[in-house]
């Protein structure tokens, strides 16, 4: 076989293997596969090693939360999806990262989860001044860069950081509760992960 033909065959075989790899199932949650195409859509790149494992774990968590929201019958309507897609396009221009179908699909899932947060998570989070202030003084995260370092200084300067603290507090509480619910759901769900240790 001439060398250049052998080379072309090798390239074609590599391309086939690559395509097969792209469609590879990395995890399954209650029968729903998570492929590396899903990882690529969510992260914008081909990941490997620990970063891939973390991304798959987060997609598993996402799927578990989605299933909780769907069981509550909170599915997004087509009208809601259309509206959110139109507003996103207005704010950021045409979608550049995923195909319109894929974008609408993940948007629908996220609106469903958002309904769940509205009805079942957010109302459980106490947002009174004392709670937010206590959180700020004790736990203000490192990414609140300008926040004072010491607790005493935070106590004193809280009024300046009130709104910022409220935002970060609510955000972290939503994430914490969702994470706990996903962890609980995982115990009874049929989850198989094919990457990592």
């Amino acid at each position: 076989m001439p060398l250049n033909r052998r080379f072309r065959l090798l390239v074609a075989a590599a391309a086939l293997m690559s395509a097969a790899a792209r469609a590879a199932t990395l995890a399954v949650v209650d029968g729903v596969p998570i492929t590396d195409a899903d990882v690529a859509a969510a992260t914008g790149g081909d990941l490997a090693g620990e970063r891939l494992r973390v991304a798959v774990d987060k997609l598993v968590e996402r799927q578990l939360i989605l299933e909780i929201a769907e069981r509550k019958g909170l599915a997004a309507t087509a009208e809601e999806v259309n509206r959110a897609a139109a507003l996103a396009a207005k704010a950021y221009g045409p979608n550049r990262d995923t195909s319109p179908g894929q974008f609408r699909r993940h948007l629908a899932e996220e609106i469903t989860i958002s309904h769940y947060i509205d009805l079942y998570i957010y109302p459980r989070i106490p947002t009174d001044e004392a709670t937010v202030k206590a959180w700020f003084v004790q736990k203000a995260p490192s990414f609140m860069e300008k926040a004072p370092r010491t607790r005493a200084a935070r106590e004193e300067e809280y009024p300046r950081y009130r709104n910022e603290a409220q935002y970060y507090y609510v955000r972290s509480e939503i994430a914490r509760i969702l994470g706990e619910e996903a962890a609980a759901a995982r115990k009874s769900a049929r989850v198989k992960v094919y990457v990592g240790g």
Partner: protein, 410 residues
Amino acid sequence: MKTLHVLSRSLASLLALAAAGYAAGDGNTDAPRKPARAMWVTTEALYNRAEIERLVATAAAYDFDALFVQVRRAGDAYYVSAREPYSRKLEGQPAGFDPLAETVRLGRLFGIEVHAWLNVNYVWPGPDLPAAPTHVARRHPEWISVGRDGRRMTGYSRRDLGRADAEGWYVDPAEKAFADYFAAVAAEVAANYDVDGVHLDFVRYPNYRFGYGEKARRRYMEERGAPDPQLLGFHKLDDGIFRPALGAEGLADRWYDLRQLEWLDWRADQVTRIVAATGKAVAAAKPGVTYSAAVWANPEHAYRYVGQDWVRWYEDGLVDVIIPMTYWGDADKLGALASRLEGCRPGHAGVYLGVGTFNHGELYTAETVAGLAGAPVDGVVLFDYDSCWAKPGVLPALVRTCPKEKPPCP
């Protein structure tokens, strides 16, 4: 600069003769239409009669079609108004001096359109109160915008304003009574002066940090059934919304993203309401007058940061002419924006492109304008007259390079 002074004086006298025979329209509607050549003129050129004469003579010498003349700069009037205070910058001028009337009179003589440029939401530089008791900021301090820190701009120091990236005090666009107030201000100008157009600028929020007054937030929550936007104050929405959110943290962020999109939409609606109400009032006061607005050039930035949904204004024909202020782009970018707007679509607004002369070298304007030759724009507006005057090469170069005809519609 001196050369230009002499040139404009001698040309002014010559052109005065020529202009005497100029009629506003020559009746030949089939003639190819060249893109309008226009300039924004800030109030500094209106401080006295001699400045106005120099302005119009220069515009005539360089074949300008239109002047956008700033006559409401900071909640004050460079015309005679029953509604707003006469500008203190005009103190010392002869009694009855009316810069807008004078500009219109000379513009008519030279066949140059005069559009009354009104700053809308920006009303005062601060931090001290305006002296005039009839100033809108004194009569309605409750209309001045509130920051997400809960403080009204009237309580901001000069340093605070700078740190918040605000030029001065703005009326909150969500203040419903202001839409009626401003519509009446614009209608007064249209009714009392023979202007060719009414032109809006600063019709927007100062930036995303403002608009958090209790009244506005309450109305938003009622109208959209959404949580308090104060909660969103520090959420930075980015185009990651086009990717699936990862994990519990990503989903928490997405919950904010979706609410942020709603808040941005509501804010943009408040600005659009002012544009629509003013357009209606102006048209009623003077049918046929050209209604235009200067806007941030990047449509998405304009929408997100300052609430200008100007693509909607353009598409819905809420204005007759939209003028993106493309001060920072090169000719290719400007052409691309013009093409994106598809300026030929019937029922839509016309498109003039704002070109910066204040922030570029003298040849930049000429090159930029020449680069627009193939773009379907209806006009070019230079910002601004003062910088053209300070850079004597700009105007002669412009005359040579400005497109002679608008490209035909496809």
